[in-house]
């Protein structure tokens, strides 16, 4: 008998995780609220004089990203603890499933869920947006902003997964939110210190932290695109590489942590 591909167990865990999440009414409810808020963003255009399309894009995409962020953090951190509470680990681990396959499966499950949510909501938004602006610049801006947000969400899912291997779901969610806020604060902090004439060593420390901790501000390209500024190719390549490497690193460490756990 020819066995299926060695990655089959990880993929099976991923699809089971995705199905479990998508059938959970709580997740559906959050997505519905997100869609509603995104829809309301079209009304903001009417009250914003000649900046209508920009405001609609800004508020609409922000609503989409916040919804996806919430779902990513909530499902990733709770999914692992649910497996423990519901004794799913006793179902999984006596079978030929390694901890690495399990961790990868959990990450892929979260990834499928966040990708589905993000891209479906973006598609709905783009359809609505086409009623007010059919320019290529508008679509390109929505697509590029969402692509970078998608990479950021994958990285955040990796972070949430890592915290979920050693912390309770609420703590893991709080750690993830904390690091997400920190990850978006480096540029502000760097600018603030530069203005305050901060010491060389403090600036170097902040620079070093921006390298070690996830620098999520790299993925915020909305302002540049809304103001018609182009993104340099070398910068795009660097940011994509950063997202992939950092996410792989987080999932790898999560798998190592998972190996240490007794069921």
């Amino acid at each position: 008998m020819k066995l299926r591909h060695p990655l089959t167990p990880a993929w099976a865990i991923a699809t089971a995780t995705f199905r479990e999440s998508i059938r959970d009414k709580f997740i559906l409810g959050i997505t519905a609220v997100g869609v509603l808020i995104t829809g309301l963003s079209f009304t903001t255009g009417a009250i914003s004089l000649d900046q209508g399309t920009r405001v609609i894009q800004n508020t609409g995409l922000t609503a989409i990203f916040l919804t996806t962020l919430f779902i990513t953090i909530f499902t990733t951190t709770s999914s692992m603890s649910r497996d423990t509470e519901r004794r799913a680990l006793y179902f999984l681990f006596p079978k030929p499933v390694s901890r690495a396959q399990y961790t990868l499966g959990k990450f892929l499950g979260a990834s499928i869920l966040l990708s589905t949510t993000l891209w479906l909501m973006t598609l709905l938004f783009a359809v609505g947006y086409s009623a007010i602006d059919r320019s290529w610049t508008g679509y390109s801006s929505i697509l590029t902003t969402t692509l970078f947000a998608w990479m950021e969400m994958e990285l955040i899912a990796g972070m949430a997964l890592l915290f979920a291997t050693f912390a309770a779901p609420l703590n893991a969610a709080l750690y993830t939110i904390g690091f997400t806020v920190i990850g978006h604060s480096f540029v502000v902090l760097q600018e603030y210190l530069a203005r305050q004439d901060g010491s060389e060593s403090t600036l170097k420390l902040v620079d070093a932290l921006a390298v070690v901790l996830p620098n999520l501000e790299k993925f915020s390209v909305r302002d540049e695109l809304l103001h018609g500024l182009g993104l340099p190719t070398i910068w795009i390549v660097g940011t994509v590489a950063y997202a992939i490497l950092y996410t792989v690193f987080l999932v790898f460490v999560a798998a190592r942590m998972q190996r240490q756990r007794e069921v």
Partner: protein, 250 residues
């Protein structure tokens, strides 16, 4: 007959508390080993160590000629955990598909096998219902089905009769006896001693992590006595020569 499972001098401590002390046993093909004992006797801990879910403090475990951490060994093992709820939003069929995929079995094999198993455990009509709509007995049965998806050489059943109605218990006993006749080794934990006595070929009696009795059922239970009487006497709950209270009242 060659042993499929050999456990020698197994110990497990949680901090300063001894959960299992010096357990040794062996199980051959076609044996049904019933592990009995009061709550906290170390039954589930022993099974978890054998399956590699817990690390023993000391002692050796040889399962199917290797270690339970080897994928080749796990491919031939089935496990039905106690009180399963695992994936409430998956259907019974999806749970079996998932179990088959974890063993990397080809899709057509999983489809054929899961159809047979759903018939065997009486869940063919509920195959497309989500687990959250299942009763406790149905969860027990789907959990048994997933444990058998790979046609295991050794299957571990943790409280398989718990939560089943009389018909479900009879059916479960029949399945265990069928597995035994097919040469599958079965290790089961249960509090229902009459059922253990009916289906087991061997019995391991544990109390406070230590072995109180181990051997063939015919050796542990003298003729004219029941396993329940022997169990109560061994644990000092009724005097050695006293009659079981139930028998007296008859």
């Amino acid at each position: 007959m060659d042993a499929l499972l050999t456990v020698t001098n197994l110990h497990k401590r949680f901090g300063t508390q001894a959960a299992v002390e010096s357990i040794s046993l062996h199980v051959a093909a076609g044996d049904v080993l019933g592990i009995i004992g009061p709550n906290g006797a170390g039954k589930t801990t022993t099974i978890k160590m054998i399956l590699g879910l817990l690390e023993p403090t000391s002692g050796t475990i040889e399962l199917l000629g290797g270690s339970s951490n080897d994928a080749s060994v796990r491919n031939q093992v089935g496990y039905m955990p106690e009180s399963p709820t695992f994936y409430p939003y998956l259907t019974g069929q999806e749970v079996l598909d998932l179990a088959g995929a974890l063993f990397r079995l080809p899709k057509d094999v999983v489809a054929k096998r899961s159809k047979e198993l759903l018939e065997t455990v009486g869940l063919a009509d509920a195959a497309n219902r989500q687990l959250r709509g299942y009763s406790k007995g149905m969860l027990q049965r789907i959990c048994l089905a997933q444990a058998l998806i790979n046609k295991p050489a050794v299957v571990f059943l943790d409280e398989p009769l718990d939560g089943l109605d009389p018909v479900g218990r009879i059916r479960m006993r029949e399945i265990i006896i069928k597995l035994r006749s097919e040469g599958t080794a079965v290790v089961l934990n249960s509090h229902i001693l009459s059922d253990v006595e009916q289906v087991s070929t061997h019995v391991l009696m544990l109390d406070k992590g230590t072995v109180k009795a181990f051997g063939k059922v015919s050796e542990v239970v003298p003729s004219g006595k029941t396993l329940e009487e022997v169990f109560m006497q061994t644990l000092g709950l009724i005097p050695e020569h006293a009659e079981h209270p139930k028998k007296k009242s008859r």
